[in-house]
């Protein structure tokens, strides 16, 4: 790792700090923003996420090697952390730091995209079920019951096993499409209560069609729990992806993901503990940060806490 890489990492950290300060300045003036930052872990969590996202985006600047590059497998495999390899090298002679950074792209990307798929599906299904109620609701919610009753991991393993190398898009879709059941229930419950509010009747009396009423009037007023569940859900999805990759059924090697880095590293735990430890730490750190942000968001967006 040369001096430029170190500088870039430092730059990313500074950028993340600036981002936290800026967010704090922008939203800290309102009551929800103050409630958000009152959480002791909220600001550090935002920093951790901002840092990982910046580093992932600027991967070529902060890494000295290509993530796939086997630098010198005979002499530089399982090399301990040093100035040249800050997190050491893995059993195949690849730089762990470089793989970790590029892996962040994949792990964070899959987490965000799969959550997007899950939340959009859940919002549409829950919104439609809650707004139309009756047989629409009954049908959709029984479907959700079925979905929730099936163990997700086994369902995923079963489908993933159909491919030799799962394309990333398919992986994202699979994780997303098996993850919307809880969200849809949450959204449905929220919609059931919002649809009884008077402005919904007012919108209908103005001649707005159901789609307009649902998407413009009902769902924006049900946004808070959706955002919270999404923030908490990304962490879950990342763990799931890591689990699948660890089992060799997620992101296929040699593309780095934090899950398959652990898989590659754990047989050498005794001689090269850094290979599995650092990606494991990264996962824990990011998931904890996401949970902290989710918790803080829940407090910030819950109007019943106005006085707290």
């Amino acid at each position: 790792m040369n001096v430029w890489n170190w500088l870039a990492v430092g730059g990313a950290a500074v950028l993340a700090l600036v981002a936290v300060a800026e967010i704090r300045r922008r939203v800290g003036t309102g009551a929800p923003g103050r409630r958000f930052f009152r959480h002791p872990t909220a600001a550090p969590a935002v920093f951790v996420l901002a840092f990982f996202v910046t580093v992932a985006l600027a991967a070529p600047l902060v890494t000295p090697y290509q993530p796939y590059l086997q630098i010198d497998i005979t002499r530089l495999a399982n090399h301990a952390p040093s100035a040249q390899f800050p997190l050491g090298t893995d059993p195949f002679g690849r730089d762990v730091w470089s793989r970790l950074v590029y892996g962040a792209r994949i792990s964070l990307g899959i987490g965000a995209l799969a959550m997007l798929v899950a939340v959009s599906t859940g919002v549409v299904v829950g919104g439609v079920a809650g707004y139309f109620r009756h047989w629409v609701d009954t049908t959709l919610m029984r479907l959700v019951d079925v979905g929730l009753a099936m163990p997700r991991m086994f369902m995923l393993l079963m489908v993933v096993a159909l491919w030799e190398h799962v394309p990333l898009a398919v992986l994202v879709l699979l994780i997303g499409l098996t993850g919307w059941f809880g969200t849809s229930r949450l959204v449905r419950a929220e919609v059931l209560s919002v649809r009884e509010r008077e402005f919904v009747a007012a919108a209908r009396s103005l001649g707005a069609e159901p789609a307009r009423v649902i998407f413009r009037h009902v769902l924006p007023n049900a946004a808070a729990p959706i955002i919270v569940s999404a923030a908490l859900g990304i962490g879950n999805v990342m763990l799931l992806e890591a689990g699948l990759s660890f089992l060799g059924l997620g992101v296929p090697s040699p593309a780095p993901s934090w899950g398959n880095m652990i898989a590659d590293g754990w047989p050498k735990m005794a001689v090269a503990p850094w290979c599995a430890t650092f990606p494991g730490l990264a996962i824990s750190l990011v998931v904890m940060a996401l949970n902290a942000v989710g918790d803080a968001l829940r407090d910030a967006l819950d109007p019943r806490r106005e006085t707290a």
Partner: protein
């Protein structure tokens, strides 16, 4: 006489209650007309079916549990609103018939600016561009007397007072220049000075835009100042219907009597002991248990056997043109009984 704009005939809106305690006949055979340009007051206590009647006109009744019985008929511009397809109905809602609601605090969507909400009907019905709709929203805010409309248009409902929000609600309803405006207790949630301002505003807009207003209220004081004609509802039925001056001068139904007597007055202080306001004894029964015979008889000071056994039809009591003053009361056939027992 001119043709009515809105003709309601034998409207029956029932609700099936959850626990099998029977059907709530919230509106049970209501008929009346609304003429172009007039203000019709719809009065009665809470639970008499006023709001359900107004919601039925735009078919905003939650179905189920509610449903409008076949045989009911609401004619607007030559078409029965009750048999229109949803798409045709939406073309009328907000465009030809608009509605303002009781609670200005909860009837505005908290997450959009008032400008967005005023523009909504114009965008839905007239396919205005965003920019044109915004200009229209500013124009409407000015029309309803909100100062600084160009700035207020970007404000959120929580940044406004109750009176201003009600003005915004009115602007929302009137943006397409509807022919009929249904105002469901538009001033109940406001304090008295604001109430007077809002009623004045409605009156001015009605004159400017030439629309008919159906004003729903339980406050006869409001009716006296604004309505041309009054329909009094009790227990899901029309019990009396007359031009406003006639109703106040010659109320014929004991229920109307009672409502009038319970309005506090400055010019005639209550004569009764301890200066208490008059009230009608008892309360409106549940809509699933309307009494037999005349529905008002358990609370009526004049009731006799016939009232318990036989339901009176709407009887014509007009002094001028037939049909202008109608009453659902047997007293009309035996007026001497009215003096038999005075109000308690």
């Amino acid at each position: 006489m001119t043709e009515p704009l809105l003709r309601i005939r034998d409207l029956k809106t029932y609700f099936v209650t959850e626990h099998g305690s029977g059907t709530a006949r919230a509106v049970d055979g209501v008929s009346f007309d609304l003429y172009p340009g007039e203000t019709l007051g719809l009065v009665g206590e809470s639970g008499c079916g006023k709001t359900v009647t107004s919601l039925s006109v735009l078919r905003l009744i939650p179905e189920p549990p509610g449903h409008i019985r076949p045989g009911s008929f609401i004619e607007f511009a030559g078409r029965n609103l009750l048999t229109l397809a949803p798409r045709e109905l939406r073309a009328i809602r907000g465009n030809q018939i608009a509605m303002i609601f009781q609670e200005p605090m909860t009837s505005l969507n908290p997450v959009f600016t008032v400008g967005d909400q005023i523009a909504e009907a114009a965008i839905v019905h007239q396919r205005l561009s965003r920019r044109a709709a915004r200009a229209r929203a500013i124009e409407m805010l000015k029309l309803v007397g909100i100062p600084d409309p160009a700035q207020r248009v970007d404000h959120y409902p929580h940044q406004m007072s109750g009176g201003m929000r009600q003005r915004v609600m009115i602007a929302m309803a009137l943006v397409c220049h509807p022919k009929v405006l249904i105002a469901d207790e538009p001033t109940t949630a406001l304090d008295v000075t604001i109430q007077a301002q809002i009623l004045e505003l409605l009156e001015r807009l009605q004159a400017e835009l030439g629309m008919a207003v159906m004003l729903i209220t339980h406050d006869l004081g409001v009716v006296a100042g604004t309505a041309d004609r009054v329909v009094v509802m009790y227990a899901g039925q029309v019990v009396e219907q007359a031009p406003t001056p006639e109703l106040f001068a010659r109320p014929l139904h004991p229920y109307t009597d009672g409502l009038l007597a319970s309005v506090p007055r400055l010019d005639a202080p209550p004569v009764r002991a301890r200066g208490r306001l008059h009230g009608i004894p008892g309360q409106v029964p549940a809509a699933s248990e309307w009494p037999g015979g005349c529905r008002f008889h358990p609370r009526c000071p004049y009731a006799w056997d016939r009232c318990r056994d036989e339901e009176p039809p709407l009887l014509d009591a007009s002094t001028g043109e037939p049909g202008t003053h109608t009453v659902r009361c047997w007293l009309l056939t035996e007026p001497q009984r009215r003096t038999a027992r005075p109000l308690p």
